[in-house]
Symmetry: C2
Subunit: 355 residues, 2 copies
Amino acid sequence: MGRRSSVLRLIPLLALVLACNARSTAAPPPGPPADPLPSWNDGPIKRRLIDYVVRTTTAGSPDFIPPDERLATFDNDGTLWPEKPMYIQEAFMLARIRRLAAADPALGKKQPYKAILAGDFSAVEQGGTKALMEIFATTSTGMTEEEFAREVAEFFTTAQHPTLHLPYTALAYRPMVELLALLRARGFQTWLCSGGGTDFMRVVSQTMYGIAREQVIGTSITTELVSREGRLSLLRKPALSGVLNDKAGKPVGIGLYVGRRPVFAAGNIRSGGDIEMLAYTQANRRPSFEIVIEHDDAVREFAYQEKNGETLAAARKNGWPVVSMKRDWKTIFGERVVAFPSSTVAPGPASPTAP
Amino acid sequence: MGRRSSVLRLIPLLALVLACNARSTAAPPPGPPADPLPSWNDGPIKRRLIDYVVRTTTAGSPDFIPPDERLATFDNDGTLWPEKPMYIQEAFMLARIRRLAAADPALGKKQPYKAILAGDFSAVEQGGTKALMEIFATTSTGMTEEEFAREVAEFFTTAQHPTLHLPYTALAYRPMVELLALLRARGFQTWLCSGGGTDFMRVVSQTMYGIAREQVIGTSITTELVSREGRLSLLRKPALSGVLNDKAGKPVGIGLYVGRRPVFAAGNIRSGGDIEMLAYTQANRRPSFEIVIEHDDAVREFAYQEKNGETLAAARKNGWPVVSMKRDWKTIFGERVVAFPSSTVAPGPASPTAP
């Protein structure tokens, strides 16, 4: 039984390898077939992911999806990088408050900035969206789009995660980066779809995830065309453009940027923010795939649950696979994988007589 | 002099051909170098276009632009397809009114629908944006994004231009389609940036211009996630999302969708709608190129002017080349050119001894 199921497990992987090879003209290297998802432990979710990618991109398959409909959307915070102990964009705003207070000490004596500088975020947490928007206005608006991009780039060059002690740019979940690369290698467009700031994520999406800056859907703010130093530029204003890109706002954001329903979506538990995106994707008439990531690894990342458990309940109800970071991921943070190395995929099964 | 300038004229073209060839591994066909812009008459604008594309994409050139900054934005109405005697989206709304009035005769007895059905658009013209938005709401909202896309596709399959007597899908300006293809062949992203409806243009942008539906920036409306026939869908609502994508709204739209300043922009005269996009592009610190199309060909297309002449004045002031449809375009409407045939570009100058 163990032996037989091992062989069965290999079938989708072999099909993928053969399909990749059929399109390639370069001579493949010798050796066993490369695993496109090496950071995933073998198990039902990894098998289902590979099976989905194979059957939707193999010509003649009843589940074949035309290339221009291969649209995948990924949440960001908690799905592609950590969201604890605070959102990374909150860490950016904190760093900005420190810099602004250094230049203008009066700011650091006012609330909520005084509390924030002392490490107390409770006022912000309790103040909800309104409090967050005030801090956002102070730290992230009133400058041109290019000035903001420079501030964000500076943050990512210098800042470190407070408990993982790594630069934030080293904190993409390696299994998800592999999944993104596998999807792109099979002709899927990979889009970010997050409640985070569009212009904040754009600065690192290509480097960290291989996602083009133009394929970032987030919460956007209004801008105004102004002349700055004799040059027309976009000035960032403290008001939303459209809706918050969260919950029911995520399909709305996808409609604005993509204009078509995805076939693949990935989200995570925390605040129910991805349920609508996953359900909207599942309502595609094409075969679709939805996954939900559960944060259950207190040793390697963080362990936390959703207050009301609504995302896991929706996953159970709708049949969305739930990824356990603890069980399903061999590694969480690894070296950055920029592109799926399709040219290294070998032609067939490993020879048992190979050295 | 004539002979010498003919040779000089060939230099940018030859450089382009050589650069294309240097990247190609396929054996080129024999014969003279293919002209990448065969529907453009030889002249200063064609030469400047080719020169710009060559010097910004040739490694080692002082004007080299890194691939991810090669962003080109094109207005649509009057720049890529005709806007007379009415905007094509207005023709779509008229066709929708006809269908709706056939199903509900009461509609056809109300103003402004009664006048519109009789061919009188003066009420709409005089009513400005408000009148247009009411007709837009009646004809283009209250349905899901997928239902709307089907309505638009149906229109393009059946409708014809009232005076040119061709399907609208045959009315892309061939010289501009060649320019789009040349830019893409040299690694530029080509974006639509129009006051027209985003979801309207998306239906034909790939087929007519080779512009991906995800690279259409237009005026967008709000949508709402609703359950229709047991399926989550986006319902189109009669309200703008963000600002009208015209005048100062065009750079704002570019900021939302692209998040970076273009290096190339094309617009036309009519209502000053492209001036800000062209000026915002010109403020790029990279070498940029802006063109303005003038409608001066009453025989092959339409001849009209801008009331206050502001676009031509801005072109003179800022040094933007003005394309005369009459003088600069060999043909206006030709067969659809889907992709720039870079593989057919030959390696060098024509041999004078060739048969």
